[in-house]
Amino acid sequence: MRILLMTLSAMVLSSCATTTSSNISESNGQVVLADSHIGEHYDVVMTRAATNYAVEPQCEQRKVALKKQRKAFLYEICGFNPESQRFSDAPLSEVVYHFIGGELVRVDVRAAGQTELLDNVKEDMSAIFGSNNSVQSTLGQDSYQWNAKQHVAGVRAGAGASAGNVHVRLLGEDLVDNAPWLADE
């Protein structure tokens, strides 16, 4: 019986792991979210944003500290509101890129829609991060986090005033340790 259950679980996991959508996928531990790779260079991401979304993101920059180090890193935040773009069947309302030292370290995507659409987002995230080397944890009510290899992805179903929104973000695991303020922002 136990063997049967394990076999069934493995089959379910493997079928989930192959699920992809047009906006989110996973390859070699790199998560592709809205066509953006963690670690990509600033210029590449900005070019893609301009091409794919027909927008010019508004950027801010400041020098920041990473834990313990006394080197100054440049932290740049570029955000925009895409039109007619969808994330896992839910319409995108906002995309914000975070760079440290010119490299993409985090993408925040806010999707807005009905509950059933937002459930699709969660299912897609489960499919991508639901491999045997990832850990899913519940951060709180309607809030989940998947930890896979080098990246952390979070899906947070909004509550109260922000009900109906899902906030997805990707963040390097090292940066969660080295720049806790980045994870908290």
């Binding site: 500290a65 313990k68 006394r70 080197k71 100054a72 890193f73 030292g101 370290v105 090292d174 303020w181």
Partner: protein, 360 residues
């Protein structure tokens, strides 16, 4: 052990207080024993009260002044060999600057190894950064920036280590800087303990909000004493995490320290009016936190490695081949300690010397 320490401390204080004449043996012998003991006790109490008051005032002053560097802007010709590392991009120099460095030979610059890693822990290429020279103000326009042809990281440096010792790198410039280089100290590390040093850089003056620190445009300097490994590795401080090829500098009360953006910059000591670089800004727990001193790469320890690329002098001691961390009594035996007890004892001896001389 303790008496050895004290004797060494006494001789060290002797040169620091050159105006003080020490009592000769004959004069001391002529004093009645009771009078000598009374004088010593009186002086001891006097020293205790004055030192406690001074320490309390200094501690409070340092804590009140929350700014990290806690120093002041430098003058343009004060430290001409201090240069800035800046990303090779379109932004202003102020935004692009990420570390400090020093010119140690015409086409050679010394910095911290960790400065040459990006946020993902990958070594940056020569073309990704430049060396800005002859400026103290990063807002200045038309600052000269030199291209880099080679970088050499110390082979023992481990960017992922909890304590990344051997945090040192050499940068070879494409063209001459034309700057008179700073002299690198070749003195034994033990000789540096207790000396007042100066750290220079464009680092943050306030990191209350770590995600948005305050950075100056004009380079600043602050004076910090070099502290012993015993103090730095005490349980209340770095608890044996610091290696013998690192220097600790700062105040137990905190308040004055190097900080984010100062990495790679110099820690210097003035010897007979000439600055000698003794350290490279490496890391620290936060900035200017009480009991957590700034950690610097110990330059004299690495003179041999630097000499492989550019001749800067011969070390005046034999660096330990076995790298240990924590307190090593063999290294520090008989040297000056900056513990409060030793300082008090030194002051007591000097005070006694003054009194005895006046009586004679």
């Amino acid at each position: 052990m303790r008496s050895n320490l004290s004797v060494a401390s006494y001789s060290d204080y002797e040169h620091l207080y050159s105006a003080t004449q020490l009592p000769n043996e004959t004069t001391a012998k002529n004093w009645p024993l009771m009078q000598q003991i009374t004088a010593m006790l009186f002086l001891f109490l006097l020293c205790l009260v004055s030192v406690s008051e001074a320490s309390a005032q200094e501690s409070q002053a340092l804590l009140d002044k929350h700014f990290i560097i806690g120093g002041q802007p430098i003058e343009s010709d004060e430290y001409p060999w201090v240069v800035a590392l800046a990303r090779n991009e379109e932004d202003s120099l102020f935004q692009r600057q990420f570390c400090g460095a020093t010119v140690i030979a015409d086409t050679w610059v010394l910095t911290a190894a960790h400065c040459l890693y990006n946020s993902r822990g990958v070594v940056i290429s020569n073309s990704e950064f430049r060396v800005a020279i002859n400026t103290i103000d990063l807002q200045e326009t038309n600052v000269e920036e030199l291209l880099v042809t080679n970088i050499y990281l110390h082979p023992e440096y481990d960017h992922r280590a909890n304590n990344p010792h051997s945090d040192l790198a050499l940068i070879e410039l494409a063209t001459s800087s034309g700057i008179t280089p700073v002299k690198l100290s070749t003195k034994a590390t033990a000789e540096l303990i207790g000396l007042q040093a100066t750290v220079i850089g464009w680092g943050a003056t306030d990191i209350t909000d770590a995600s948005d620190p305050t950075f100056p445009s004009v380079s600043r300097s602050v004076d910090v004493p070099i502290v012993s490994m015993e103090v730095c590795n005490a349980p209340i401080s770095y608890n044996d995490a610091i290696y013998q090829n690192q220097l600790c500098a700062g105040y137990a009360a905190g308040g004055r320290d190097s900080c984010v953006g100062d990495s790679g910059g110099p820690l210097v000591v003035a010897f007979e009016g000439e600055f000698q670089q003794v350290g490279v800004v490496s890391f620290g727990y936060g900035c200017a936190e009480p009991n957590f001193y700034g950690i610097y790469t110990d330059i004299p320890y690495f003179i041999g490695w630097i000499n492989q690329y550019v001749l800067v002098g011969e070390p005046e001691f034999e660096p330990e081949t076995l790298l240990t961390r924590g307190v090593d009594n063999r290294t520090y035996e008989g040297t000056q300690s900056d513990t409060g007890a030793t300082s008090l004892f030194g002051l007591l001896l000097i005070g006694a010397g003054l009194l005895l001389r006046r009586r004679s």
